[in-house]
């Protein structure tokens, strides 16, 4: 049998295996055991690189500045480098302090809810989805569908839990759908993720009540309907109101309160498995 023929047969076998795996994972709606193994093995490495990743921009800036320093006095160069490093470090501490302070304030606001603080250690490997991994999982009593928030507002929900890690689906992802309430008018609606809006940090507010008088700047919060997200968590503010292509219904664009590109610390509202 020719080498290419063998190769083709092998590909066909692999294809069949993958289709079986697809069917199993579709039925189970979870990557289960293999996913948990990969997640647990990769997590320590991810945590290591996550720390480096947070400072990668500063690192490249440092190397960019090296050329300029060469033209300067050696002593001055050392001093400038040290001072810049100190400033950068202080700035980073200042920002971290600010974020932690906000989280602490949120913690006191959310005192009646059982929350746990987590750090984002990895993001989706591709360009299409807006999921990320946090550094706490089943050992912290986090369960699937637990709500994830940041100091600014709603982040998403937990979709998968492993030992020492959990996956979070952001509200800007196309798979996300959140029951919402426009604070000022008390109108119910649905906040959906959209592929073309996600990169801009926007969501689509659809199924708005016909008589609703939305205005730009209206705050949108979770309605509590649907049983996943608790009510009253800020999702964002209305940034644009539009009619659909047929002109029969209206929808709005919601500018999410959370900056998903710079998200680093979140809090999980633990339901202790009451969702699943």
């Amino acid at each position: 049998m020719g080498s290419r023929k063998k190769l083709t047969i092998l590909v066909l076998i692999v294809t069949v295996v993958i289709f079986v795996m697809m069917a199993v994972s579709f039925v189970a709606r979870s990557s289960s055991a293999p996913g948990h193994i990969v997640g647990t093995v990769v997590r320590p490495v991810q945590q290591f690189f996550s720390g480096i990743g947070h400072g990668v921009s500063g690192f490249f800036r440092f190397f960019g500045d090296m050329k300029d320093y060469q033209t300067e006095n050696l002593e001055l160069k050392d001093n400038v480098a040290k001072l810049e490093e100190q400033v950068r470090s202080l700035e980073s501490y200042k920002q971290e302090n600010e974020r932690l302070r906000q989280l602490l304030e949120l913690k006191s606001r959310e005192a009646e809810r059982d929350t746990v603080g987590c750090e984002v250690i990895a993001k989706d490997p591709g360009n299409w989805f807006y999921t990320f991994t946090i550094d706490k999982g089943s050992e912290a009593d986090i369960s699937v569908n637990d709500t994830v928030i940041a100091a600014q507002g709603l982040v998403g929900r937990v979709t998968e839990v492993g030992l020492g890690w959990s996956k979070v689906l952001s509200i800007i992802d196309v798979e996300s759908s959140v029951g919402a309430l426009v604070s000022r008018t008390q109108d119910f609606a649905i906040v959906d993720g959209e592929l073309s809006l996600a990169d801009k940090g926007l969501c689509k507010l659809s199924y708005v009540t016909t008589g609703a008088h939305l205005v730009v700047g209206d705050a949108v919060v979770t309605s509590g309907l649907g049983g996943v997200y608790p009510e009253g968590i800020l999702i964002g503010t209305v940034s644009e109101i539009q009619n659909d292509s047929m002109g029969y219904s209206r929808y709005a664009l919601v500018d999410t309160a959370v900056d998903f590109e710079r998200i680093r610390e979140v809090m999980v509202i633990r339901s202790h498995g009451s969702h699943s």
Binding site: R4, L7, V24, S25, S31, I52, P125, T131, D199
Partner: protein, 168 residues
């Protein structure tokens, strides 16, 4: 004696390959976000699959593609299989044509990485979005598929020397 030396070399190659996959996987989900341009990041695992398959040109490359695809599936948290299938087919295509290539250098790898990324990202869009009615084809093509292909094409220059050593 010679047989022992060869088998020891093979074992070391497997160990290095596993470490390399682990490293690339960790980089793909962490540091690589620092290289984001227009909300697009290079797909290190896919680049690795294409370059490795072009270099190896045998069954091992097919298995390599299958494993890398599965890792992408598992890290993405969606239904398992789409990336596994696409990476396996990409590896198969590369192995299939590798014999026919007159000159297998970095530019050839860059060309095939760019070309296969176009196909890979288009099929990803179809499987995950188009058939579920999410639309936005123009946006997907201009803001996701094409930039990803260009970025992977360029980033191949960074990974190629390492993968070439790994595959040899």
């Amino acid at each position: 004696m010679r047989y022992q030396s060869e088998s020891r070399q093979a074992v070391w190659q497997i160990v290095f390959t596993v470490i390399f996959i682990l490293l690339i996987t960790a980089l793909q989900t962490t540091i690589i976000r620092g290289f984001e341009v227009f909300h697009v990041v290079p797909n290190l695992l896919f680049i690795t699959v294409v370059c490795y398959s072009l270099q190896r040109g045998n069954y091992g490359a097919l298995f390599f593609g299958f494993i890398c695809g599965l890792i992408l599936d598992l890290l993405g948290g969606r239904a398992i299989g789409i990336n596994g299938l696409l990476c396996t087919f990409a590896a198969y295509f590369c192995v299939y044509i590798s014999d026919s290539l007159f000159n297998n250098n970095m530019f050839v790898s860059m060309f095939f990485v760019g070309l296969l990324t176009l196909v890979y990202e288009l099929l990803t869009y179809i499987f995950y979005f188009a058939i579920w009615g999410h639309g936005a084809f123009g946006y997907a093509l201009l803001c996701k598929v094409l930039p990803a292909a260009i970025y992977n094409f360029v980033f191949t220059m960074v990974l190629y020397p390492v993968i070439r050593r790994l595959a040899s």
